[in-house]
Amino acid sequence: MILVIAEQRAGTLNRATWETIAAAQQIAAGEPITIVVLGSGAGAVANELATADVREVVNVEHAALEPYTPDGYTAALQQAIDQLAPSLVLLPHTYQTRDFAPKLAARLDRALITDATGVKTTGERAFVRQMFQGKLTADVVPQGPGPHFVTFQIGAFRADQAARGAAPAPVRSIAVTIDASAIRQKPEAPFQEAKQAVDLSQAERIVAVGRGIKAAEHLPVAQKLADALGAELAASRPICDSGWLPMERQIGSSGQTVAPKLYVALGISGAIQHVVGMKGSRTIVAINKDADAPIFEVADYGIAGDLFEIVPAIVAELKK
């Protein structure tokens, strides 16, 4: 049986769970699929998940599971996995998964393959994952006894390809014992920083800069292109980390996700964390001095060269 660990927060299902269900259905080849959801009062989420074409949904209810803590989830899932005895455990590679899955797999002394983008099923089952900031791809085979744990990169599978069942799958609850006093993390309510002044998700065109811009004083080079295109200026994480542009202009897994008509990536290498935030853009242009930069794999148009020569030339061309 393949077990999918669903993710919910305060009764709202994380959509990435549907991507993981799609992955499970693709891998299953006849093997039954079970979805497990944890929480306190997550019954509605369990019913929502029961619309998937799976054998059953298992609801792990406990007051100590709300709000999420890695100690609470590890304790509950250790028992759930013991009872359900899956052969493979799949999760979306979210921040929450990253917080507890390594602990859970280490507790059980089982393999965990993180941030996989695909599966190869010819011969020995291998999981595909990027390495070295996307410069290389590896086929990785989990070792040792099962169940093996695998997390899938957001967007690697499509949520809308998760098959729905003809009738709702049965939902059942299983009991776990959690010693609430043994949960060492005391989380407070999630919050957002000051209201985001720029909503990049609404921008039709975006010019984004990465490390290749080299210094804050070079930003006007990119700004001039943005002005000429009627685009918003954005950046990859390192630029915002350095304080060259405000955090609210960051694109990627820790910033905003955008899908404009035109996305121009200047001096951005194309690390996974950035690409997940922009790969839905309709037309992607990449300008980078390194012809092997991973950004060229997602680009429609690429120019390998010095952005400090090419960008002013584009601005001049646009003004003709």
Partner: protein, 265 residues
């Protein structure tokens, strides 16, 4: 407060990958190396906490002899001493998985009884995002991941009265404060602080600082849980039109295609 920082040595960003003959790992002898960037932020945070609360910062790194380079750099930036976990088996930990590395670090760190263990949230080589969390489990400590701010409350030395309050980054611009007792393990997000660089004085001082070699674990102590069966340059998923020529020719052609083919401007 006794703070450990786990750092990894990874190939530089400019490095162009070359594969070994079996195409299962990189040719390590061709690579140039640097400190994993998220770990550099963890080191900086440790140094700032020491400046505020006193104590010492101990750098821990697992890997072959070459990792001495990043250990020296960390000492030059202000860490007080270091623990170098030497290779266990065949390839000297270069391609080891997170469980093997965390196991080796935990064995070397256990007796030190650190108050706080910091590490980067993931490495720029294999990018597991697991080592810090597994280390916490192996050391029996609470943890929190992807941390953007660290506050130490109460007395920061002695009898376990002190506690942590940390700001976790969630997705999509959300954050959350989490409190937990010390000792604890935190994985640090890049950008939590502004990095300092080593001064000449720091580089000189580093030469006198202690690097303790931790004894290797016995063979088979920590079995690998992942096997790379094939490593390769990614296949292009999309048909990228590369535009060649001089800057002005390429610019002209790009603008033409954006106007006439893609029709986005």
């Amino acid at each position: 407060m006794k703070i450990a920082v786990c750092i990894k040595q990874v190939p530089t960003r400019e490095w162009q990958p070359r594969l070994n003959d079996a195409k299962t790992w990189i040719r390590e002898q061709d690579a140039s190396y640097e400190m994993n960037e998220p770990d550099a932020y963890a080191l900086e945070e440790a140094l700032r906490l020491k400046e505020k609360h006193g104590g010492e910062v101990v750098v821990c790194s697992a890997g072959p002899a070459r990792v001495a380079q990043v250990i020296r750099e960390a000492l030059a930036r202000g860490a007080d001493r270091a623990i170098h976990v030497e290779p266990i088996e065949n390839d000297g930990l270069g391609s080891a998985d997170a469980g093997v590395i965390a196991g080796a670090l935990a064995a070397a760190m256990k007796e030190e009884q650190f108050d706080l263990v910091l590490t980067g949230l993931q490495s720029d080589d294999q990018g597991f995002a697991q080592t810090g969390v597994i280390l916490a489990e192996r050391l029996g400590l609470p943890h929190a991941t992807i941390i953007m701010e660290v506050q130490v409350e109460g007395p920061s030395t002695g009898s376990g009265q002190a506690a942590l309050r940390v700001k976790r980054e969630l997705e999509g611009g959300w954050f959350q404060w989490v409190a937990m007792p010390l000792p604890a393990v935190l994985t640090i997000q890049s950008g939590i602080n502004q990095l300092r660089y080593a001064t000449l004085k720091g580089i000189m001082a580093a030469k006198k600082k202690e690097i303790r070699k931790a004894p290797p674990l016995p063979a088979g102590a920590s079995a690998p849980k992942q096997k790379i069966v094939s490593l390769y340059v990614p296949e292009k998923g999309k048909k990228t039109q590369m535009i060649a020529g001089s800057a002005s020719d390429a610019a002209k052609e790009l603008v033409r295609r954006l106007r006439e083919d893609a029709r986005v401007i």
